[in-house]
Symmetry: D5
Subunit: 96 residues, 10 copies
């Protein structure tokens, strides 16, 4: 059984962060994100135009798994999350 | 060339609407939505759990086409829209 | 597998509603709520003091089931919902 | 006599906090929370999925006791609190 | 044992309400309020200057009693409530 | 002639403030508050449960006096103020 | 003794109001406003550009008088008020 | 001398408006807008994608003229306005 | 030709600012404000009671001049501005 | 094919930034902005009166290009962006 969630992540990095620390942090974030994308649980990630933010779609076993994925993000301490649980829509042509 | 947009649509129908008028309106909405889904421009539609709202992803030629699709929705006069233009994300495993 | 959600429901009934229609609506709401409480899926319901609102805890199979329960509420057309998905907390004495 | 309250606690720790100081703070927070949970006054604590936040239910003697419990939290200086007093709901199957 | 609460009540009466129905409603509201004031539970009521709103202080047995008092207000269906539970302040000269 | 005002004060002290400086600041705040309470102008001060905030009632000569009292608070640079001017309420049993 | 207040009044008249009733209401509002302007208590009234709103400055005896003036406005049931008590500013060239 | 202003106009027409009255209203709105566009004072008008709203740029003699143009809009009673006064930007390549 | 504007300025100085730097900054702010007051362009300045904020009325040649005055304020980097363009009100007894 | 967008950029520079670093940053911002203005993609830039903010109109190939332009701004880490996609308005005299 799998559950869908939309998550918007807004990032606020301090502008005066050490460049090397920042580069390392972003490299780890990218690797972590891609690992979960390849697992099939992080289905989509899009940039919100003009903002340091993304909109992502997750397909997970349960609430617990979604929380563990998000909590483990290297950028988590710098992020504000908006989590929206999703369900099938009766107008979806792919359903029934 | 195609553009991606996330659109959240919140619906507020008057509770005392005539049931036949309401049923007709919803039937037209569903047909209209499915026509655009089949065209490939309305790529996803999900129900936001517990709310009379959906989150949708559109892939359109340009801003103009997106506006025409949304403006033409039979439920448009009862909807509040939140439109977010999307771009590719550098961590997306499907890019590059 | 079960998922926990907190849901706050704010009710806005028109003050000039027909008293009999209102009484009928509230009776159906109560019966519907109690049926789901007895099923074990609607675990708690509390009144928010001084407000026409409740805070409820649901334990459901998945997002879909939660949506169907909430969407079916007789008072749904008069409600504003705030849905918060929950997970286990590492400080919870009942976990591990 | 006992009173029920829902409390949402949003935590904002500075990302550059000293790791040892942070670990000590979190250990003290966990011990403090578990002590009050074992007393029966802190009835539930759930993680809000994807957020550094929890939703908790307290059963206390009075407003004063709730304030003392919350004020004494080691993480209190880093928390934003939302306190909702609760009462019995007429649809609750466990009430008369 | 008694608990203190501050409650702000914002009133929104439809401007086209029947004058006699309105006068009756306001007379019942005043009588109801004064009965609870005389009981000692509704300790203060002030008008918020320039607004159809009041700020009140209640001293009640428990959350349940406060809810019953507020829920029973003849104007309740037209009110938006903001409830703040209060406790003693360490700087209060009347405390210890 | 005297005027009533409700003032909510939300305090945000930096968590890493020097403990001695903090203790001194809070001692001066308490002394200042109690001096104005004893003068009769600061009629009530209550703790908002679970928050570093208070709700206070002032009875002052005029707007100017209220501003001078608040501006002089040792904690003023760390406070966010919400000021509500009050008047007599027609339902108040103590009025006429 | 006199007190200064800034009051912003936002007006929301129903678009389908009977034209004669509307004209009468606005004529009474204007007469009422001008009477208080001539008394010296309603010192300034400006239109907020592009909005059905005004910003006004009042000089009154006390909070009570301000409330009575505002409460008596023929448009009061259609208005949302924002009241800001004012005091002298230390940089004002007209003060000392 | 001329002044620039950005104005966002959000329109909320009742969904059950009489179709003929609505068509007449919109025709008058269009004629009125185009007359001011041709005068050179209403320099730009764009549709906000997916919303019943526009963003417009005005070049007017003064605040008074802008208010008269906006106040005279046939749709004014159904509009919420956001007015932003503009000035030259030091990075503008067309300035000096 | 002159234009009227209301401007609310909210000030947020860091509490740990160097006292001498702060005193110098405030002295320059006062001198700057009084120079513009004496020019007749900064017509009024009032303290918002209990807040580090002022409400001011400006009479300027045009938007450009208002921006230059505000931008030049020594406290500008610490201020949040709310600018409201004003026009004559049809009920103003001083207008025709 | 080109797309129009309105973008409001609010800037928050730390008041204690090193003056030379600040001057360099602003010089690079100006050069970057003017380069894109000369390309024809950044069609307008206006100062929002009294605020460290601008309102700009962009004409770009697609969402991707807009994001790259904004993301590349030297001031980007200090900016909050509000992006509004635009389409042609049926009342625009310049459209067919």
């Amino acid at each position: 059984m799998s559950q869908l969630f939309a998550v918007r992540m807004d990032v606020a990095l301090p502008p005066d962060m050490d460049p090397a620390a920042r580069a390392d942090l972003l490299a780890r974030e990218k690797a972590y994100s891609q690992e979960w994308q390849r697992s099939g649980h992080w289905k989509n990630i899009w940039r919100c135009v003009g903002e340091y933010a993304n909109l992502s779609i997750f397909e997970v076993e349960d609430n617990e798994q979604l929380h563990q994925i998000l909590w483990g993000l290297p950028l988590f301490p710098y992020m504000t999350m908006t989590v929206t649980p999703l369900a099938g829509h009766p107008s979806d042509v792919h359903l029934g």
